[in-house]
Structure formats: C-alpha cells, structure tokens
Symmetry: C2
Subunit: 399 residues, 2 copies
C-alpha cells in the first residue's frame, strides 16, 4: 500500500475480474474504494479458487484494501441507497449494465460532475468475457504449435481493461479538476482487445499482407527468442532482442565461428537487427538448441548473467510461489489478516516508490463490514435509521 491518493473516494459496484481490478489498483495506491455488493455476495463472491473453509481466495485477493457495503439490490430501497452513495461520492466504477438502474445519466441527474467509469463486454452493451473476446480477435489461432487454437489462461483482457479503467478514472478526475465537468467513460473489453491488435501493428500487418502470421509455437515473432532445454532438463526462455543480448549469447554458447560462417554464407549480419535473427531462425534455432543441450542450467545461468543475458526458466506456479526473488524476498508482498483465515503472502501495489514508505498490504473486507460506517458518514444516516434498514433486510452487516 502507498498513500498517493488520500482524499479520493470511489464507489465500486462490480464483479468478476476487470472492474474489481480497477478498484484494487486505486485502493492499493491509497484511494478509499467502497465496494457495494448484494447482501450474501455478488455473482463473483464464491469464485474459485476457494480456501478450505469455502471462502473465495479469488475474491479476497481482488478486493484487498477496499471497504464493503452490503445492500439488497433487488429492492428499490437498496438500489436507491447505492445510487445515493454514488451521487454523494462523485466517483464510480462499475460493470453493471449501461442502461440499468446505474445508468450514468440517471445518477448524474443528482450529481452533475459525477465520473462513472464503466467496464463493458461489447461496446453495444452485449455480453462478452475475456475468453469470448479473445477468441474473436485471433490470438488463440496464433498460440501454440497448432493445428487447434489455444486459449490463454491468464485473463489478460480483463486485467488490461482493469488497469486502463484505473487510468481512465484518474484522467477523468484530472479533466474535472480543470473544467468542473464530469462524465461517463466506457471501456469495453472488445475495444481493448481489437484496439490492442491495432496498437501492436498486427491489424495493419494482416490487412496489408492479406494473410495471418504462421503459428510459431514458443518462438517470438520478429526477434530471436524461444524455449530451449539444458542438459539437465531445465527448459528456459532465451531472448536476444538487443545487440548486446545477441553478442552475449554468442559468446556464452561459444558459437562465434558458426555464426560468422552462417553470416558469410547467407550474406547477412545478425548483431544489428533482431528481424534478421528471426528470418534466419531455421539455422539459428538448431544451433542454439544443440549448444544449450550440452550445458547444465546452473552453468548457463552464471554465464548468461555475466553478459547481461535475458532469459527465464519455465517454472510451475508452485515453483514461482517458492521462488525467493519473486515472493519471499520481494517487498511487494506482506502478511494480511485474510477473511479466509489462510496465511499466505499478500500483494501490494505493483509499483515501488523509493521516496515513500510502503505499508503492508491490507486485507479484503468481510462482506458488509463497513455498511454502517459508510451509510453514517456518507449519507448522514442515524444509527436508528441504519438499524431500521438492517431490520428490513435492506442493509447487510458482518457478524
């Protein structure tokens, strides 16, 4: 946790990955993020993976450092409480339907300078998820060795959409500070996906060539990079995208003579142009493969480190969790009192700010833990009024 955003409060009404991620990034930078859920939990409250006691490990990690208010959103009263919290707060992140009871224009009728950042599936309001957007834009068709498409497992579009939404909230705040003007910012998963295809030059590529790229398995397009296996059976990704990385690799593998011969035979130079290294992978890959297969991983690692080489071993997620550089010795992790009661390293902000103190990662709230506090502070309700709402089943609390 860093405290870069004191004084910024945001209401979040969301579920699944993208919208909670936007709130998480803001909360980990010190914003007060109040997540409002249906009493008993929204559609993502019980998502896998789960702890032994049934608590969602997913939910308690994507909602760290937030406050929780539980309302019965099936009732007009509960909906109006949420709408009023949004109006009083002025900043709202949601993936609720664009034209439903949380439509921006309805909310802004009582708060002209409201900022709503709305994560959507399709831009027209239709349903879409990371996986359905991904299949539509063509990445599975390029992933793996073929012939069948391979889905990514990382929900990359959700995460990128969440990060972009956090940025968009801050940009809209910047604009409001300058102009006084609020607005709705809509971020559809499908536009993040196809826009990214364009940003990486791939839309231009397929339209100008009229063809799809070949599948490359674990090789990297347009550069020298692939997975190789050492004598002792360690698979690692080796990349050489800068001249220094390439000459370092040639030195470590002791293949200068072979490379010189290939360059002469083919009339090319590999050290200045990563594209040329990619074009001639038919001869470079087998050569590197053979040399890597003759070395033990520890020796290769030491040698590559000595030349500033760029590589990474393939680790399972459990290996990664036990990798001290990634977790145990990594200051982004700390202890937190999780609702599941499970003990494991909790992540804080991805960013490190050497000039500020990093405080430990905060836990996710219990559902409804802050209902009374938030309704009192934000809506000015008395304890009697709140008690009546609890008795009526409109407001939920923890414990």
């Amino acid at each position: 946790m860093y405290h870069l955003l004191p004084g910024l409060s945001i209401i979040e009404a969301s579920s699944f990955v993208a919208s909670p991620t936007a709130g998480l990034y803001l909360a980990q930078m010190g914003a007060e993020v109040i997540r409002v859920d249906q009493i008993g939990g929204g559609p993502d409250f019980n998502r896998w993976p789960k702890a032994d006691n049934g608590r969602s490990l997913y939910w308690e990690n994507l909602n760290r450092a937030k406050k929780s208010v539980a309302l019965d959103l099936g009732k007009p009263d509960g909906r109006e409480l949420l709408a009023e919290l949004v109006r009083r707060t002025g900043q709202f992140i949601t993936n609720f339907p664009v034209n439903g009871f949380l439509a921006h224009d309805r909310l802004a009728a009582g708060r002209a300078d409201l900022i709503t950042v709305r994560i959507m599936g399709l831009a027209d309001g239709g349903p879409a998820l990371d996986y359905t957007v991904n299949s539509s834009v063509g990445y599975p068709d390029l992933t793996g060795s073929g012939p069948e498409p391979v889905n990514h497992v990382l929900p990359a579009w959700d995460l990128l959409t969440g990060g972009y939404a956090a940025f968009a909230m801050m940009a809209a705040l910047h604009h409001r500070t300058a102009t006084g003007q609020g607005q709705e910012v809509r971020v559809p998963l499908s536009d993040v996906a196809i826009g990214t295809v364009a940003n990486l030059g791939s839309l231009a590529e397929v339209l100008t060539t009229g063809a799809n790229r070949d599948r490359l398995g674990n090789a990297v397009y347009g550069a020298f990079g692939r997975d190789f296996v050492t004598r002792d059976g360690v698979r690692l990704m080796i990349m050489a995208i800068t001249p220094r990385q390439w000459t370092g690799l040639v030195e470590v593998l002791e293949i200068k003579a072979e490379i010189d011969a290939i360059e002469q035979a083919r009339g090319v130079a590999f050290d200045k142009d990563e594209g040329v290294r990619f074009e001639h992978r038919d001869v470079l890959f087998p050569l590197v493969e053979q040399k890597v297969a003759g070395l033990n991983y520890a020796d290769l690692q030491t040698a590559l480190d000595g030349v500033g080489g760029c590589y990474g071993p393939y680790q399972s997620m459990l290996d990664a969790a036990h990798d001290p550089a990634l977790v145990a010795n990594n200051p982004i992790f700390g202890e937190a009192a999780n609702p599941s009661g499970a003990h494991y390293p909790a992540a804080g902000s991805f960013a490190t700010l050497p000039g500020l103190d990093r405080t430990p990662p905060a836990p996710a709230p219990y559902l409804g833990q802050h209902s009374e506090e938030v309704l009192a502070e934000r809506l000015g309700l008395s304890s009697g009024q709140i008690g009546a709402l609890i008795d009526a089943g409109t407001v939920g609390t923890h414990g």
Copy 2:
C-alpha cells in the same frame, strides 16, 4: 483521441512495448507526449511487422499521437539535452536503466518535483522481458493441453505494465498536486506478473493446496466455459458464468431433461453455482459438445443472442480485421496519415466518452519531426543554436 488531459506534457524515452504503451494511452487521452529517440531510431524503431517500404508497423502504431525529438544520446551534449527536457517538463516515462544517465535522482537534482515513471524488467534492475517473466511465473505451464508449456503470444505483461504505468503517472500527479512532492515510480514487469498471480488468488491457491492446477486446455477454471464446434465446423467459445447464462444455454440446447437427471443423480444444482458446473464438467462438456455439434452456427448464434448468451466464435486475426463490428463500424477506428504510407484503420483510445467528441486517431510522428519545435519551445533555444546542434549531429530532424 480525446482531449481529457490538455496542459499535461510528458517526456518519453523508451522502447519496445510497455513504456511506449504508457505514453500511447496518455497521448490518446490528449496529453502532449514527446518521445525522445536516438537519431536514426532506438532499438525498437525497425521492429516487425514492417510495411513494404520497410517502416515498422509496430512503431507507427505504438507511437500515435506523440511528438518526436531525435538526439544523439551517445554524446554528452545529446544526453544533457534530454535531461534538460525532462527537468523543464517535470513528467517523464522511461525504460532506460535505473542507475544510468537518466537516474531519477540525477534528473531531480534540477527539478525537485519531477515525476519519473520507470518501467523495469526485474525489480533489481536486471534484464527481463514479457516472455522471460511469463515463463517464470507459471502461466505457460497451465496453457494448452500439455505436456509442454505454451507461451502466450499476446505480450500481456508488457501491456498490463504499460497500462499500470499510465495509471501510476496520473496517481503521482494527483499526489504532487496535493503535496508538491515529486518522485520516482518503478514498475517492474516481474512484479506486475507475480503480483497478478497473487491478485487472482492463484498464489494463495498453490501455497495452500501445495499443488499446481491441472492443465485445462481451452476450458475455463472454476466456471462453465470451453470451446465447442458446430455442425458446420465453426469453433466457438461458450461461457456460462451467471445463472442467467446457464439457464439460457440449457434452454437453447434443449437439455433441461438431461440436466435435471444429472442434478438428481449427483445431488447437485448447477444454476446457482458456477463452481459446481466446473466440478461436473466430465458430464456437462460431452453433453454440450454433442448438442452443439448438431446445430449450425447461424442458428446457435440466433438462439444464444435471444437468451443473452455469452459466446464468441474463434476468428483468425484476418477474420477479426474484416469483422465489421470489431473494425469497420467501430468508432474507435479512423484514418490517419501513417509514416509508412500504408492505409489501414488506426485505433484511438479504448475508452468511449459519450459526453465528449472523439477526434480521429492521430498518426505517429516521423523521427525527429518535432525536434526544432520542442527545443525552441521547451528549452528556449534560438534557431541559430538549434541549427548548430543539427550541424554538429547532436540533434536530428525529419526531412
């Protein structure tokens, strides 16, 4: 393009994907982003894919709406011009080495409230790329049907890091406005990756269970979702994560009787809990597979649309580029006069702001196109001084 960020200027000294992405997102929201490169181009200037005339389609899409200054960064004079541009501007995005001539403390010695957002490989300054970080945190080990690890093709960690860096820049600006304090914000790819493993609950999962997840091929963990193939050979991703999506799917496939029988035999209910649908995929997948295989895609599509179903066909990237909903009829795309001379749809901001006018996507600059303008405006150099720097080879211009 939207003009949410007028008055915000940022110097960007960067290459590859993450750092230019941060600048791109800011530029597409209206910030003035001045990318400073080595004369002749940085290490990413000629990256694949390329147009017929040799121009990088990658570069001209990741650098839209930016200005370009070209300097000889091998010379002390050129380095000092860049450092002075950073000091005079006050906001800086870079992936240059943490302890090099663009170290934050050196720059901030002349500009106490400077904000530097620095994208890094490893948190200790060591080299890492999307692909090497990805292999280290365990996603390839979970991707595909096995037994070998499968790399993602989408540079997801680069993109998420870029998006997060754009957010972090805005958060640091917010903080500076409140406190007057500038700072360095470091965003290492490796921390984005392992932090994401944690945020999704997966770090907690593997540490509490002591085991890795099974590979699931194209199935989605913890929910109902997989690829299926229709009678006419169309592969599509079908998801059912909400109760409504599940009951809609059951209705469309006319499998209510079969589902009732399974629920009774196994003593479970599928409609309320996506985890239960995942647990019983051994029987649900074959049933859905058989029913989908009996339908033509067009009929299945119409029926799923009728119940708010969530699905997406697998398209190649070329199919996606020709999908009117994704590109031709999508207002995020427009025409731009690209340096390559190639004509293709250019993307603007992923976000849509119904309350503001979207202006057409801007093209990437020619290298050095804005050198004279920026040096005159920002550093107050006279045309004679700039001319001397050009003659000395310290400053490059276009044309």
